[in-house]
């Protein structure tokens, strides 16, 4: 599974757990729209730490980078390349 598909599937899982089954595009800003909360962002962080070995502890953290499938994918690509 590609990084993008993997991330998309994980976001779907988070939203489903919250009872939010309406769809979303890869560009859709889920945090900005209020569909994902800060705790959900932390769940995504743990997912990326565990699945991609990313360490966020020593770089400026920007919640905006976790807003959409596309922005998270870009972040993973930048930090793992």
């Amino acid at each position: 599974m590609s990084t993008q598909a993997n991330i998309r599937s994980f976001l779907e899982e988070i939203l489903n757990d919250k009872g939010d089954s309406s769809g979303f595009t890869d560009q859709q800003l889920l945090v900005t729209e209020g569909r994902l909360t800060s705790l959900d962002v932390m769940t995504i962080v743990v997912f990326l730490e565990e699945n991609y070995g990313i360490d966020f502890s020593d770089r400026p953290f920007d919640q905006n980078e976790f807003d959409s499938v596309d922005s998270i994918t870009a972040l993973v690509d930048a930090l793992t390349s």
């Binding site: 757990d17 009872g19 900005t32 800060s38 705790l39 932390m42 502890s57 020593d58 919640q63 905006n64």
Partner: protein
């Protein structure tokens, strides 16, 4: 998407005709007129100036950022309250009137503080690979505490004390705005400081808490085309009129519960529930109200606080949306909250976001990585506990000025207790939510869960009231009286 719900305020932002209309000059003028009328209903004293700024931003959206800065600076010169009363007290108490004028003193303090913010912002941006770049907000907060300590205890001459306190008062007001600017240090191309400044308590209002967050967030939510601007403005109008409905509810509530006249209407009989400060004063003097009155006091104050915060936040966000920024509401259906953590998110969104950005994330990302549950709990404690306490400590700088930093810490015992209690409760709530799937049972989600959550906040909010000078014992005594347990 069809929507069959009954709405008090129609979903005008979902009407294709209105969205189309709002993109033309006549439609924009109409929207501004409707918004101006809404501000007038809210008794806004400066609605004409506000509408002029909004008109400029509506008709020339390509200059939105410069107009935002110009509007904010104009508002600063005319309306924004940067604790002027407190600054004036310093000016008078230190005898500065002999050597300088009030306007020179106040303007020089504000200009110095803004210059400091700009210099710090650029210094951080240019200090890549240094401690300052990695921890700019922590450095700022620690430095601020050090300066507070110096101002409180160092034997400085009166003039130096006056300028130092003045600087700390204004910086204390802007400190979280600057913190949001610093969050933006990594952005490419980022936002120049002059445009960051447009967000330092913008003309649409706010407090020490930035509404809505910082420049990075504004870039994200800014209307990118005429249609987005139209939808944003229609949402703004909707929210402003919803705030008016809530303000009527608040007015009637105040009339029925406290006997406060509403539009020159006064009830011959009302519930005559005492105000909470009055009830606490009675408790302190050993003459508490009856237990059921105390319940009424607490409940009434909680409802009043929720309504007041909602109306206030809605007006600010409505104006922000009219300016072309599609911001989320500050308060969003708190009565629907099913968990303690959810209420925190719904009640005062931008304050919660501030604590999350500057306390929760840094703790979560750096500490307790091998212990997931402790990691969540400690990050929550850092935000709802430490961050919450620091925010209020800085905000109430007048207490530090009066009592010194150690005296103020002692006076803050009630709020420290509240922050720790809140941090613990929200932390446990987060852990509980992680463990299980959300219940979908109607009675649990709509009745028992919200009542439990609201009950918790209703009882504990007493510890978060503005400082009246009482110790923790008075608050506990008040709560003991509610269960009919007398003076211990």
């Amino acid at each position: 998407m069809s929507n069959t719900r009954i709405r008090i305020i129609p979903a005008i932002d979902e009407s294709p005709v209105l969205v189309q209309l709002a993109q033309h000059a006549g439609g924009k003028a109409l929207l501004l007129a409707v918004f101006a009328f809404g501000l007038h209903l809210h008794d806004s004293r400066s609605w004409q100036e506000l509408v002029l700024i909004l008109a400029a931003m509506s008709f020339w959206p390509q200059y939105r950022r410069p107009l935002l800065t110009a509007g904010t600076l104009y508002w600063l010169s005319q309306h924004t309250n940067l604790k002027w009363g407190l600054l004036r007290n310093v000016f008078d108490a230190k005898g500065l009137a002999i050597t300088t004028s009030w306007s020179v003193y106040s303007i020089s303090i504000v200009v110095t503080t803004i210059l400091f913010c700009a210099m710090y912002y650029y210094l951080v941006k240019r200090s890549r690979d240094t401690w300052l770049y990695r921890r700019p907000v922590a450095t700022l907060l620690v430095s601020y505490i050090l300066l507070l300590t110096i101002a409180s205890h160092a034997p400085l001459p009166a003039t130096q004390q006056a300028y130092l306190w003045g600087f700390l008062i204004i910086l204390g007001h802007y400190i979280w705005y600057l913190a949001y600017s610093l969050q933006d240090r990594n952005a490419v191309p980022g936002t120049k400081f002059i445009y960051q400044l447009g967000h330092y308590q913008p003309f649409w209002g706010g407090s020490n808490t930035p509404f809505p967050k910082g420049a990075a967030y504004l870039r994200k939510i800014e209307a990118k085309n005429a249609e987005e601007l139209a939808v944003s403005q229609l949402k703004g109008i909707k929210l402003l009129y919803w705030a008016f409905v809530l303000s009527i509810v608040l007015g009637i509530f105040n009339m029925v519960v406290y006997g406060r006249p509403f539009y020159n209407l006064a009830l011959p009989d009302h519930l005559a529930i005492p105000y909470i400060n009055d009830a606490l004063a009675h408790t302190r003097s050993g003459d508490p109200y009856d237990w059921y009155i105390n319940w009424g006091v607490l409940l009434a104050n909680f409802i009043k606080s929720m309504l007041t915060l909602s109306v206030w936040g809605h007006i600010i966000i409505a104006t922000c949306r009219m300016a072309g920024f599609k911001a989320l509401r500050n308060t969003c259906s708190p009565l629907r909250s099913r968990t303690i953590a959810e209420f925190w998110n719904r009640y005062y969104y931008y304050f919660k976001e501030l604590l999350v950005e500057f306390f929760f994330y840094p703790t979560y990302l750096r500490y307790f990585k091998t212990r997931p549950r402790l990691r969540v709990f400690m990050a929550t404690m850092a935000a709802a506990g430490l961050g919450n306490m620091l925010y209020h400590f800085f905000r109430d700088i007048h207490i530090i000025m009066g009592l010194g930093i150690w005296g103020a810490l002692k006076a803050f015992q009630v709020y420290i207790f509240y922050a720790l209690l809140l941090g613990t409760a929200i932390g446990l709530s987060q852990l509980r939510n992680q463990k299980r799937k959300q219940s979908t049972h109607w009675f649990r989600t709509r009745i028992t869960a919200p009542i439990t959550v609201l009950g918790f906040y209703c009882i504990t909010h007493i510890f978060g009231l503005p400082y009246p000078g009482y110790g923790l014992d008075v608050y506990f005594q008040f709560l003991m009286n509610m269960v009919n347990v007398g003076v211990i």
